[in-house]
């Protein structure tokens, strides 16, 4: 299929498949999956500059699908999402300025890759550790190890911090939380997005859970709303700069939109701790992929990310089927 803006030929079936996989992951985890799509688009024939812009445009469309479904499931905290989404845009500008400075001193590649690897491993290993200790505790007490974990002590401490003005977030089950902390969270994740050139969902989701105390499913839905806000602006600016290939984005969105709906609905059938476990594994493997890229093993890095996306989305799809089957047969609790 010919792409008129990028002046390149791209395989539409490949776009549909990769779109579907990242759509499932996006709807299930509340992430944009730029760490998977951008290198994949580049491998499939898009020049890198067009790959980034085209991906942002399809993530915008995909996050509409995911936010819509999560809103129907009452998983979206609109107040929190709007505050974090818009303050995140300020953070993105700060991140971009930092990138320009790093370019001047010729350190951009090294700093960005190092920060990215550290953050991915930090987030992935922390969430995996949390999951394993939760599982150990619950198995000891004879409870289901996949049930929603109790609120993290750090989130409880931060909820009690009286740094005025306070904001109430009833959808998330938070009576009061410092507005300054919410703004700081938005600016920090936006800064990381601007610095690393990704959506920042892999940071926002654990922060919502462990620093604010949001239930996992509400964290996923609210994160998608933040992505929707930031990618709306990103799509426009990249398109004006001539870096979005509409036809490619449309083909990808056909796959990722359907995938996002499947991923979003799966969160209603899969226990919260499973979501956290799959997320931790995906983030850790993304970290390994970035290390491989750093070693110039680009094909291995791309294949690892593609295989991860394919396998995790298949697991989510099977968990959804199992959940639906249990729902039909038990007519009661049907969470797997």
């Amino acid at each position: 299929m010919y792409m008129p803006i990028a002046d390149a030929y791209v395989n539409p079936q490949a776009l549909l498949i990769i779109g579907f996989c990242v759509g499932v992951l996006g709807g299930f985890f509340g992430v944009g999956s730029a760490f998977i799509v951008t290198p994949a688009l580049n491998i499939f024939g898009f020049p890198m500059a067009y790959a980034i812009g085209t991906n942002i445009a399809q993530v915008f469309g995909k996050s509409i699908v995911g936010t819509f479904k999560h809103a129907l499931l009452e998983h979206v905290d609109w107040r929190l999402g709007i505050i974090v989404g818009f303050t995140g845009m300020l953070g993105v500008q700060l991140g971009k300025k930092t990138i320009m400075y790093l370019e001047q001193i010729n350190q951009v590649e090294l700093v960005v890759r190092t920060v990215y690897i550290v953050l991915l491993f930090l987030v992935g290993s922390f969430m995996l550790y949390e999951y394993l200790s939760h599982k150990k505790r619950h198995l000891k007490n004879g409870e289901n190890p996949f049930a929603e974990a109790e609120m993290h002590p750090l989130a409880i401490k931060l909820q009690h911090l009286k740094l005025l003005p306070m904001v109430s977030l009833p959808v998330s089950g938070i009576k009061t939380y410092s507005l300054w902390l919410v703004v700081a969270l938005g600016v920090f994740t936006g800064f990381a997005s601007g610095l690393l050139g990704v959506g920042g969902g892999f940071l926002r989701l654990p922060m919502f859970i462990y620093l604010m105390g949001l239930p996992t499913t509400v964290a996923v839905g609210t994160d998608l709303l933040c992505i929707l806000i930031s990618t709306a602006w990103g799509s426009y600016t990249y398109a004006v700069a001539g870096r979005v290939e509409i036809l490619g984005a449309i083909v990808m969105l056909l796959g990722s939109g359907v995938g996002a709906q499947i991923g979003s609905v799966a969160t209603a059938y899969v226990r919260s701790m499973r979501i956290r476990l799959y997320f931790a594994i995906t983030v850790l493997l993304a970290g390994v992929s970035v290390i491989l890229k750093q070693l110039n093993w680009n094909t291995a890095a791309g294949l690892l990310m593609f295989a991860t996306a394919w396998t995790i989305s298949l697991i989510i799809f099977l968990a959804l089927i199992k959940g639906i089957f249990l729902a039909k047969t038990n007519c009661g609790r049907h969470i797997t």
Partner: protein
């Protein structure tokens, strides 16, 4: 059909970048909303509503 669409995109892109930016947003938002509603309808017909918690 695809050639006509590509030609249209090329004309809009070369004519005015702002219009191209708005067109991108409009198409993505429209297609995203359509997929949302269509897939939601299909899921409901199949009896898959979610909301188990």
């Amino acid at each position: 059909m695809l050639e006509i669409f590509n030609e249209f995109i090329r004309i809009v892109y070369n004519d005015d970048k702002t219009t191209y930016g708005l067109l991108t947003l409009g198409i993505m938002a429209g297609l995203g909303s359509t997929i949302s509603i269509a897939t939601e309808l299909i899921f409901r017909i199949l009896g898959i509503k979610g909301g188990a918690h």
